[in-house]
């Protein structure tokens, strides 16, 4: 990579990214408003009592009495100043609501991500090295099982085994509320709560990485430069690490880039089963409640992160594989 090209590349890509994000915001806006019903009707439904005055008060407060294009214009103006708006339903700023959920989400998705990448690549590399052996078959079958099993079922089974039968781990939540743990005791408490949801979320991706790593490594193993290295007498361990694995990493990084983009989005299913207070549930509940501002805010943050991670992935390619140039 030539250092001189980088600033221009970044500037061009960032400009494109802004255009993409804006287009996404506009699409989302119409998509969200296309869902039948509005926040006022949801709140009336939940309150069990309503009159015309109540509906009108709510619609005026939520700004729903304005024409749609005016609402869009108001929203775009606030997004451009990085103000994500206000949830009238929850009486809180959208940015604050998202920030409140972000740590829990990042902890869960980050742990699952790390577990999946490290575990998956390791298992894939082991399988590729011992291709055809019982270990390879075992890993392949394991990966296939995780790949094909629905997430919620894995979650329920883990709960059944580790919470109900063995009583080792808590079945829901992020910490023992009211126990007053401080310092390391708190970390340990959260780790115990984190284990099952992170495993549940990570197992599918672990399978994907394992299969991907195994397949690409097998492909690279037969290439000429590996044979050359072997002929030169490079130790087998070093060949695997420096020659095979490094060259097999590109597809893995592509996939990891995609998964990393979803880190901020959380996972509705896992968060629901384990009562994890993450962003996936925030978005899902906002959808059901037609809390437009919150939903758009989550969409906005997720799209920004996806765009940024795509950019980062492209830069990472160039670092791992010097033949790839940015520009």
């Amino acid at each position: 990579m030539e250092a001189g090209k980088l600033p221009g590349f970044l500037a061009r890509r960032l400009l494109k990214a802004v255009a993409v994000v804006l287009a996404i915001v506009i699409c989302n806006f119409f998509l969200v408003h296309a869902a039948p019903g509005d926040p006022a009707s949801v709140m009336a439904g939940q309150s069990g009592a309503a009159d015309a005055v109540f509906m009108e008060q709510l619609r005026r407060q939520f700004g729903l009495d304005q024409p749609l294009h005016v609402q869009l214009w108001i929203y775009l103006k606030s997004v451009l100043t990085l103000d994500l708006g206000f949830s009238h339903r929850q009486q809180m700023g959208v940015a604050a609501l998202i920030m409140e959920r972000l740590p829990a989400t990042l902890l869960l998705t980050g742990a699952a991500f790390a577990f999946a990448v490290v575990g998956g690549v390791t298992l894939g590399a082991l399988a590729a090295q011992r291709v055809g052996s019982w270990a390879d078959s075992f890993i392949t079958i394991l990966a296939l099982t995780f790949y094909a099993t629905p997430l919620f079922w894995v979650g329920l089974m883990l709960v059944l085994v580790f919470s109900v039968w063995l009583e080792w781990l808590p079945s829901f939540g992020m910490s023992s509320v009211g126990a007053g743990y401080e310092g390391w005791a708190h970390v340990w408490d959260v780790a115990q709560h984190l284990l099952l949801p992170a495993l549940t979320l990570g197992l599918f991706y672990l399978a994907v990485y394992a299969r991907l790593t195994r397949a690409t490594m097998l492909e690279v193993q037969d290439q000429d430069f590996v044979k050359t290295a072997r002929a030169k007498g490079v130790p087998e361990g070093r060949i695997t690490r420096a020659h095979v694995l490094r060259n097999a990493m590109l597809p893995v990084i592509t996939f990891a880039g995609i998964q990393a983009g979803q880190l901020v989005g959380g996972s509705i299913l896992v968060e629901t089963v384990f009562a994890w207070p993450g962003i996936g549930r925030l978005a899902f509940e906002a959808l059901l409640a037609r809390d437009y501002a919150v939903l758009l805010g989550v969409f906005f943050c997720t799209s920004v992160i996806v765009v940024l991670f795509n950019l980062a992935t492209d830069l990472l390619y160039a670092i791992i594989d010097p033949r790839v140039e940015v520009g």
Partner: protein, 526 residues
């Protein structure tokens, strides 16, 4: 004076619960944290600003009304220690408890009560707005006396002073602000036994003991933690494994109740809903033929086996409805009953009405908007489809989500659905709205079906305005007879919700409001 005595007598149920506990050799124990759940998570915790079921469950720990109600709906003193009603039924005088403090330390006085009634709830809540509009003047002769003078007599007036209808809020933290956006909405301040401590959205709400609470020694618990657990099976697991000690309202699906009943450490109560007494019904849109034909409505009603619904779908949580007024609501007439389950008679009625079955045995087809409030309602819809097939009526199920359901019911864009509303102890407060012509509105929970009968309108109007309970009973008996004859909606069940708790947790359900009370007297036995 006579009513004053009634107020004092009504206080006995609360005393009895403590006495009962002592009779079992258990004196209330101070200390301990109760972990329970809240489903679904409310958007805000300030009652009035939000009046959803879960908001009332948690709000009733932080706020108090002037009164609460026994299972037979007799008033029990809370913030009002006594009250008198003038013989013409227009003047209500409440004497307030004198040593009551809000959680911020300021005393609660008559000013707060008048502000809560005349401004706060009247501005925010549709139900309060409709009833409190009857108040002509509200005065405070002294800081601990409130006098309301009504424009006309209104017999069910007292029922509006429970915390679920009119919790007393601090005037000094709301007056002059927009009530919905006032800062205190995020950290509610009331007079209840528990004060707001912490809310991590999507995770938990923590309430802690209010040490300046006005009832001596109460509350017994140190804290109550409401966990937010969105999945019903996870909630069931939480109570089974002891991670929670109490579930309420919609926490546990009815079909999970039998398994929990079988556990020796848990107690399942289905009482404590007498004040709300929701009755569920098949919601019929009278604008859709042939639902405007009374014979069709009668036939469909006879095609439904309510015992099956109560026993096999709800597993005994709730019981079959016998008429539009729940048996636990005042003025229910037990001698007035809808026609029973009779498929043969239903078929005969439809034949007589000229709805012949075609070659496939189908007389006509109706669409059914499934109530999107959980698995149990989908099961009910499937049962109804089968039941109606017995009388040659095809029910086409449409599913939707809560937002669209409320919109479509409010916009009259449905043929049939299922619906239920709280009755609030009196037909004037909770039943009238579904059947009178003047309440046919394009708003959810009004008379969305569009039923209209001048005689019914007249009887409800009479029951609303006459001061004597006996005269009201006569009008309500007549109205129940007409409604049972004309079947404007097909009533299904007098609903109840299971309150499931660890046996060590005492005094959970002691009034007609069950888990919607302060929990000052609730304690964890060792």
């Amino acid at each position: 004076m006579e009513l004053n005595r009634r107020g004092l007598l009504a206080a006995t149920p609360l005393l009895m619960t403590v006495a009962e506990a002592q009779a079992q050799g258990i004196t209330p124990r101070r200390g301990g944290t109760l972990t329970t759940m809240l489903t679904p998570e409310p958007p805000v915790l300030q009652i009035g600003v939000n009046n959803q079921g879960p908001t009332i469950v948690i709000g009733s720990k932080m706020f108090e009304g002037l009164l609460t109600f026994s299972p037979t709906l007799e008033p029990i003193p809370v913030l009002a220690k006594s009250w008198t009603i003038s013989p013409d039924g227009k003047e209500y005088v409440f004497r307030l408890q004198e040593n009551v403090k809000f959680h911020d330390g300021r005393p609660m006085t008559a000013d707060d009560v008048i502000f809560s009634v005349m401004k706060f709830h009247t501005e925010l809540a549709p139900r309060a707005r409709a009833i409190f509009a009857l108040i002509d003047t509200a005065e405070a002769p002294d800081p601990h006396t409130v006098k309301f003078t009504l424009k006309q007599a209104f017999e069910p007036f007292l029922l509006m002073f429970d915390v679920s209808a009119c919790g007393i809020v601090p005037k000094h933290l709301f007056d002059g602000l927009d009530y919905r956006t006032a800062p205190v909405v995020q950290r509610p301040v009331g007079t209840g036994p528990f004060r707001f401590a912490e809310w991590q959205r999507g995770n938990f709400v923590r309430l802690e003991r209010f040490s300046d609470y006005w009832r001596p020694n109460q509350p017994y618990l140190d804290a109550i933690i409401y966990r937010i657990v969105p999945d019903s099976q996870s909630r069931r697991l939480a109570i089974e494994t002891g991670q929670a000690q109490l579930t309420q309202a919609n926490d546990i699906e009815p079909f999970d109740v039998p398994a929990l009943r079988a556990r020796p450490n848990l107690e399942v109560a289905v009482n404590g809903w007498e004040y709300f007494s929701p009755v569920s019904w098949i919601e019929l849109n009278h604008r859709v033929a042939p639902l405007n034909d009374v014979r069709v409505r009668q036939a469909l009603s006879m095609a439904v086996d309510r015992n099956f619904i109560a026993q096999r779908l709800w597993f005994g949580v709730g019981k079959p409805a016998t008429n539009p007024v729940a048996s636990t609501t005042k003025f229910h007439d037990r001698n007035v009953r809808i026609a029973g389950f009779d498929v043969r008679a239903a078929n005969a009625l439809l034949d007589a009405a000229g709805f012949r079955a075609n070659a496939q045995g189908v007389r006509f087809t109706l669409k059914h908007l499934v109530l999107p409030y959980g698995e149990i309602w989908s099961r009910l819809a499937e049962y109804l489809r089968q039941a109606f097939r017995q009388v040659g009526v095809t029910l086409e199920l449409e599913s939707t989500d809560a937002g669209n359901w409320a919109r479509r019911i409010g916009a009259w864009e449905y043929e049939t659905s299922v619906n239920f509303v709280y009755q609030f102890g009196d037909p004037t407060l909770g039943v009238e709205r579904t059947y009178v012509t003047s309440n046919i509105q394009r708003v959810t929970f009004t008379n969305t079906g569009g039923y209209s009968n001048p005689r019914v309108d007249e009887l409800f109007a009479r029951a609303r305005s006459v001061p004597a309970a006996a005269d009201r009973q006569a009008a309500f008996t007549d109205v129940q007879k007409i409604l049972c004859e004309e079947v404007p909606q097909i009533w299904l069940m007098e609903m109840a919700f299971p309150t499931i708790h660890d046996r060590r947790l005492r005094n959970v359900v002691t009034t007609g409001l069950g888990v919607h009370t302060g929990f000052g007297d609730v304690f964890l036995a060792s």
